[in-house]
Symmetry: C2
Subunit: 162 residues, 2 copies
Amino acid sequence: MSITDDLLANNARYVETFEGPLPLPPAKHVAVVACMDARINVYGVLGLNEGEAHVIRNAGGVVTEDEIRSLAISQRLLGTREIILIHHTDCGMLTFSDKDFRDGIRDETGVRPAWSSEAFDDLETDVRQSIARIKASPFIPLTDSVRGFIFDVATGKLNEVD
Amino acid sequence: MSITDDLLANNARYVETFEGPLPLPPAKHVAVVACMDARINVYGVLGLNEGEAHVIRNAGGVVTEDEIRSLAISQRLLGTREIILIHHTDCGMLTFSDKDFRDGIRDETGVRPAWSSEAFDDLETDVRQSIARIKASPFIPLTDSVRGFIFDVATGKLNEVD
C-alpha cells in the first residue's frame, strides 16, 4: 500500500458524510494565496468552510505568472474581491539560495532551470514583493483589499505585514 | 468590516486550541496539486492532518512552470515521494475559451496576457496532460507514483483517471 492508497481510503470515509454540491463561485468572494507548507491548513487557519474561498498555493506563497493567471480567473470569472497572502515562519524558502538550487539541478541532471526558485531571505520583504506584483499587474482588476500575513507555525497566529 | 477582518477573527479562535510547531518536512512524503476551487477542502478530502503533505493549488489544478518549481522544491529539499493530482467536476476552467478570456482582457485593459489561461474542455484529458508534464520534466526526480483524480463536487469522491 502506498500513502496515496491510504489517503484514498480516507476519502471513502469522507464521502459517507459529504453534503453537496455547493455553488461554483466562492461565497465569501475571497482568494487566498498561501505557501504549500504542510503545516498550513488554510481552511482551519481562517475558519473557512467548503465553498467560501479560492485557495492558491505554491512553494513560498509567492506571486509569479501562474498566481496572476489564477487570480485573474478568480476575480474576472468567479467574482472574488479580496486577496489574502500567507507566508509563514520556519519556511523552507529561507534555507537555500536560488543559485545553489539551480546549480545543483544542473550538476545532477545536466539541465539548469530557466525559472527562478523564488527563494527569499526575508519573510516580510517577500510578502511586500508579492503584494507589489499583484498591484502592478494589469490583469487583476480589484486591488483595494490585498493584505499579507505571516503565519506563525508555533502559535497558529496570522501576523499582518504592514 | 471586510471579509478579511472576519477571517482574522476566526484565526484568533484557531490560535486558542493550536498545538505546534510541527516539523518542516511533510510527514507523509506526499505533494498534492489541486484546483483552487472553493469546494475542495484538500485536508478533508484526503483525511490529511497538519504537517503531513504539501498542498499546491491553482486555477484548474494544472501543471505549469510554477508547479514544476514547487514540486522540484518539494521532492529535492523536503523529501516528498508521491504526487496526487486533483481536478474536479463542474470546474470553471470548462466554461470559457483561452482566446475569449485573453481577448476580453485585451479589450478591457489594452494588454493581452502573454500567458495561457490553461482553460480546457475535457477533464480526463487535462489530468493526463498534467501527469505527462510532470513525467516529462527533468527537474522532478521521483515519478513512480504520480496519480490523477477527478473530485466529484456532488459526492465528495475522488475518481481515478487511468
